[in-house]
């Protein structure tokens, strides 16, 4: 039986319901919350701040350090052991690379910008949700950036190209599946995160990326709105 209709009745290019908020962690220099479907991500930015150990210092510009972490109760199965496992370490690294191209830390030699992403609840697409939250948090921290970063996973389930796969689609067993986390810079459509699990032809992949760009622009509008809301003029004048 081929996959003709998405299990949760979404259209192929329809994202799950989203929610975004900026300034959610008072202690942080910048912070944001991003929710898509049942996946929620908090991101907090600290810095630029002093960097230890000293051997990490880059005398020509500040460095970016990302940490992705799932809360122990955020997995759909058993408890997730706290601490950075191999998966979390890899996601932290690709998150860093997804955000780095927009960030300009020339004014902050020898310092570090720390980005902490924490997920209280996940159901597929957690690294993309983390990147969306982190990019808003970096902007909220007042850093120099050429653009925001928007991310979504795209892919195929059987012969259907879909965006924002949920857990049941990732686990679809009656046909081939490909899950492609994608991050783009909305202004130029350049790609800063691209991974894939599964099997797909080149043609399908390029079509999937095209679909992903469109979705990222939708996400971008939500990110932009949340950032502006924090600073919108409140009061009677």
């Amino acid at each position: 039986m081929s996959y003709k209709k998405r299990l949760d009745n979404r259209k192929p290019d329809e994202l799950r319901k989203m929610e975004a908020k900026v300034g959610v962690i008072k202690n942080a220099d910048g912070s944001a919350y991003f929710k898509i479907g049942n996946t929620c991500a908090y991101a907090a930015v600290y810095g630029p701040r002093e960097l230890y150990p000293r051997f990490l210092h880059n005398p020509s510009k500040g460095i970016l350090r990302c940490s992705y972490s799932m809360m122990p109760f955020s997995g759909s199965g058993n408890r997730v052991r706290p601490g950075q496992n191999r998966r979390a370490k890899e996601i932290s690294m690709v998150t860093e690379k997804a955000l780095l191209p927009v960030l300009n830390l020339d004014e902050y030699p020898n310092s570090v910008v720390d980005v902490f992403i924490e997920l209280p609840q996940t159901e597929a697409g957690s690294r993309c949700a983390g990147i969306c939250a982190a990019s808003m948090a970096l902007a909220d921290a007042g850093l120099v950036m050429s653009d925001l970063v928007s991310a979504v996973s795209v892919g195929r389930v059987d012969d259907m190209l879909v965006v924002d796969l949920d857990y049941s689609e990732e686990a679809y067993e009656d046909g081939p599946v490909a899950d492609i986390p994608l991050a783009i810079l909305p202004r130029t459509d350049e790609i800063t995160l691209l991974q894939m699990d599964g099997e797909i032809t080149k043609e399908m992949l390029l079509d999937a990326i095209e679909l992903g760009k469109k979705s990222c622009h939708e996400i971008y509008e939500i990110q932009k709105k949340a950032l502006k809301e924090k600073y919108a003029v409140k009061g009677d004048e």
Partner: protein
């Protein structure tokens, strides 16, 4: 590190009946808020807000083997993560002693108050029991993490529903409507001694100027079920007596938030 002026200024304010954030000396911060079900992947979860301090707690349930000495009892495990997202002063890496202490104080409060009848967590004597994995994660640390965490853990337990079990395996996608039978509600209140004053619910800034604290966990009928003294200075017996009275009084307010 605290500035040299902070402590003397703090005591000056306390002498005039005020706290660093302007509230009256014995007041708890507002809001005191408990939100249930903040994580759908947990079997039970809650978020506690006390002033600017925010703490999450989640309960995952797993089936495990009982300890040989208690073959007919399930058990709990409490973990706490002081994550670097929540404070500029927390670092990545294995749990700090502060996190370990916090988890253990919360664990003792629940365990020793007998809030949960561990026998009811037994599935098959000597073979299978439920283990309740309670995890506390700080979201924003503005002080008084122990009290907020204990309240969050309790709220998450109240929120929890057992998952369905089929042929001995848990189906985490399906929750039953069976809750954990919480027979008591242990509430932790930490009382701090600053100079000659006793205060509760300090901010992060105030905590920097405080030497000594006593966490007192009490149940609704004013029974003390866990204690933890910490800090560099000593307490007299009179101090402890006063601190217990304060803890019992403040526990009533926190209990109302549940």
């Amino acid at each position: 590190m605290a500035s040299n002026e902070l402590k003397s200024h703090f005591i000056k304010l306390l002498n005039e009946g005020k706290r660093l954030d302007g509230r009256d000396i014995s007041e708890l911060r507002q809001p005191i808020k408990v939100e249930y079900g903040i994580s759908k992947t947990a079997e039970g979860s809650a978020k506690v807000t006390m002033g600017d301090t925010e703490v999450l707690a989640g309960v995952k349930m797993e089936i495990s083997e009982p300890y040989p000495d208690t073959p007919d009892q399930g058990t709990i495990m409490v973990g706490a993560e002081l994550i670097p997202l929540s404070s500029p002063e927390f670092e990545s890496g294995p749990p700090s002693i502060k996190a370990v202490e916090l988890a253990r104080v919360v664990d003792r409060g629940i365990r020793e108050s007998k809030a949960i009848d561990f026998r009811k967590l037994c599935i098959k004597k000597g073979e299978k029991i439920w283990i309740l994995l309670i995890d506390i994660v700080t979201l924003n640390d503005d002080g008084n993490l122990i009290d907020a965490s204990a309240l969050a853990a309790l709220a998450a337990l109240k929120d929890a529903k057992f998952p369905e079990v089929k042929d001995g395996a848990i189906d985490y996608k399906k929750k039953t409507d069976k809750s954990i039978d919480l027979v008591k509600e242990p509430i932790a209140v930490t009382v701090f001694k600053v100079g000659n004053h006793f205060i509760v619910d300090p901010t992060r800034e105030e905590e920097k100027a405080i030497g000594t604290r006593l966490t007192i966990t009490t149940t609704k009928n004013n029974l003390i079920c866990a204690l933890q003294k910490s800090g560099d200075s000593s307490l007299t017996q009179e101090d402890i007596s006063r601190m217990i009275d304060i803890a019992i009084e403040k526990a009533k307010i926190l209990r109302e938030a549940l």
